[in-house]
Amino acid sequence: MKNLLDKFLKMDRRYIFFLVALGVIIPLIVPIGLPVDITKPVKDVYDAIDSLPEGSYVIISLDYDPATIPELDPMAYAILRHCFRKNLKVITMTLLPAGPGVAEMATKTCAKLENKKYGEDYVFLGYKVGVSAVILGIGEDIRIPFPQDYYGTSIDDLPMMKGYKNYDDTEIVITISGTNVPASWVAYAHQRYHVNVASGVTAVMAADFYPYLQTGQMVGLIGGLKGAAEYEKLVGVPGKAFVGMDAQSIIHSLIIILIIIGNIAYFIVRKSKKEGVG
């Protein structure tokens, strides 16, 4: 037994990589369909959007880049489709230099799926340098940081933007990010201009933003692929997050089992070594 545990502790880690790869690939090919429960922070984001009257202005800041697409694209797509289905006026933008390509693709794809027209139902403003300057600028007039949209059209020439000036005309700001940008939205947009802020973040960042929920500085929070799967379920558009949850659950179980076995093996081997020395 001791030899077996000793071998386990010295096992080549590539075996673990192989097990993890299998644990991910198999459920992607043969989905199991494990249940996804809805948590309150995600439901709060959904309710905040769902309760808005038609024609309300919503800013969706897609502050992520290709490195976090697997986690953040599903929630961005679900939120965008939800907003379009509610006939809200959607303003999308990005505060990350590598974000325009990702943000444009998400906006265009969802608009096409929901038959929305550019300039009337949604606009894409693209990227501007300077996170705090851009957020503060929108508080005065969106034309200060974004005199033109991503395609070079003047903001005033876009029919949807005729009645829009700043956060006073905005019902909610939703920031989707794998960075600390949501904290800037809270600090500058919420604290200074009192606009509601909701956020979708990578799982790594989620723990950092929970304090903002407790204080009411964020109306809701979507954390990681699990949060994205919950939102997809709420909107009724099961996508990549929903499909990925089977693999996620299997890998988490595998990791838990390995941690437990590893710890037990470590303590048994250490104890027997001590006894051997004694």
Partner: protein, 228 residues
Amino acid sequence: MEMVWITISALLTLAIFSFLYKDNPIYKFAEHLLVGASAGYYFVIYFFNSVKPNLIDEVVKNHHLIPLIPGFLGFLILFRLSRKYGWLSRWSIAFYIGTGMGIYIPVAMQANIIEQLRGTMVETGKVGEPPLFNISSFSLLFSDFNWHNLILAINGPILIIGVLCTLAYFFFSKPHKGALGKFAKVGITFLMVGFGASFGYTVMARVSLLIGRMDFLVNTWFRQLFGL
């Protein structure tokens, strides 16, 4: 043509994954390609989104001369490359840090300290809300004992005790002995729970990224390649 790009993307993903077996030239090639392409991409993005519209266009097309001042300060940063004149870059850095702090400190104080303090006193941090240490929730618990009421009653006290004990751990002006030491030990426990939650979320995030790439390889590349 789309299939060609998908295949290139898939092969580069496999090249990066090959590091899991062992370091190799294919991995090195993919890594260097990523670094090089990213550097070029960021340079172009910053130039066309910042330097051109805010400096070149403003000065050349609109004849505004004020942008020359931040342009000059930005130029001074380049002197960091020189040992002799490197000190010049400090002017720009001082200006940048000074304005940045001036803008950030007041809102950060409000968002991250005052609001968070309020959040440890009243539920949801809003004015008029009941206090976190709410006696009435305990009387509700004793009159109707169930899980929901139990969580409702202990949630606030746990948060308050957690904050105070964690702050006690970071109080270094007195040795962690006696009552302070006991408080600090409880504080460490809360910190460990926090770190554990963060680690769990980190594992979830990394697995999510793996799922994303595997989904691309299996459901996008592989299926299209073999027409499945």
